[in-house]
Symmetry: C2
Subunit: 244 residues, 2 copies
């Protein structure tokens, strides 16, 4: 079922305004009586359409819905900037799997260098992908794209746990750090997971990150592609914290 994030005011006034009106009318071909889900990221309702006007869709609330679709702690992915359109998929799928924020990180072995003129447009594009994926996966909180940033400019001091997805760890038989860290997390804790680009993480970066407190961690016994590592970590966190 389609879901829309709306403002607190619109939720109180039983209406949808803005771009979503076009979406309901032209993409969903909405009619009076059709049902969908709305949330202001605090309350969530199943609603049905009462009337469709030019710039507003009016609805009535049918039923309050469970808000419990979020991971119990905040997980941010710091993704070494990958090639092609892989970041689209990472943003989309990590949102489905419960990520809080995704950041794209310029690292030594990132092949793609972002044209500074395109920074704003790209950031908006990834954030839109994550908003739509939040709606599609029926999340109560919008996941966000945090921006494209240089590794050395990131402040990691607010996290409770720092994970470095590191294939050398896996090769050397390190298979316990990630799980140990996940098991330490409490409700509301914050975890950052850093994943290198296709070419991997440069040794100087590994030194820099371990000095900051990052824990090199193997994610299973096989070599994962850069676009699979974030999904592995988030699925494992969901499994550990949500499937009892």
């Amino acid at each position: 079922m389609q879901q829309y994030f709306i403002s607190k005011e619109d939720l109180e006034k039983n209406r949808i305004t803005g771009d979503d009106v076009f979406h309901i009318r032209s993409v969903m071909r909405g009619r009076v009586g059709d049902k969908f889900i709305v949330t202001d990221e605090s309350l969530m309702y199943l609603v049905s359409i009462v009337s469709i006007e030019k710039d507003v869709v009016n609805f009535k609330k049918e039923e309050a819905m469970s808000l419990d679709t979020e991971l119990p702690f905040f997980v941010d992915i710091y993704q070494g900037y990958p090639k092609g359109d892989k970041l689209d998929d990472i943003c989309k799928h990590s949102t489905e799997l419960g990520v809080n924020k995704v950041y794209a990180v310029n690292m030594k072995r990132s092949i793609v260098k972002i044209d500074p003129k395109k920074l704003e447009a790209k950031t908006l594009r990834y954030d839109t992908i994550m908003k739509e994926a939040s709606e599609q996966s029926h999340r109560t909180r919008k996941a966000h794209f945090g921006g494209i940033i240089d590794l050395k400019k990131i402040d990691f001091s607010n996290y409770d746990s720092l994970i470095l997805a590191y294939e050398e760890s896996a090769k050397q038989g390190e298979y316990s750090n990630f799980r140990t860290e996940v098991l330490k997390m409490k409700e509301g804790s914050r975890m950052a997971i850093l994943i290198g680009p296709e070419g991997g993480i440069d040794e100087t970066e590994v030194k820099y990150l371990t000095k900051l407190g990052f824990i090199p961690s193997g994610l299973g016994k096989r070599i994962l592609r850069t676009e699979t590592a974030s999904l592995y970590a988030l699925a494992a966190i969901s499994y550990e914290s949500e499937l009892k």
Copy 2:
């Protein structure tokens, strides 16, 4: 590092033959001394090139390598045939994550109907994707594409556990079945995981499958796209069985 699956005979004779010779010469631009990994799915070695001829590459064995890159039990994915090129990604990423076989299943709500004339070519194509992903992720066993089949023609009697990824389960708060089943698995056990296409699983199919012993299971609290469900399940299995 590049990896090739070779025959037992070629491994004994320290040589590579067939299509991989072209790959080494033209794609990898291999030279004497270059190192790569070979396996006959039983033994695995780091080797270096001794000479490159027209139809054969000769190598010497540098070092025996660990064979321990496989999940402790066999997991087969039965994927309701999805739209577009999603099955490419499912085959690729589930191979990285340790799948044994992937089957594409014709189900009531599959939008794509396969032209029987293209069946063989498609099957070969998906199997090649999985062979290459097996090499890239340094697996010791090749993962295989099992074929494109109708749901009612599948024999599920050889499995120890049958999981039905079912979003209605998640909506109704079913969050324990999958984990319970994973924890029951022993070394060498076999698990089948069935995932519906984009439109979901028809009610008559759910009845048919539960009669066969399939356990409807929620995979976390959010609604996953069809192409994300297999990755969730495999990552969770790796986390549970490989990260101690």
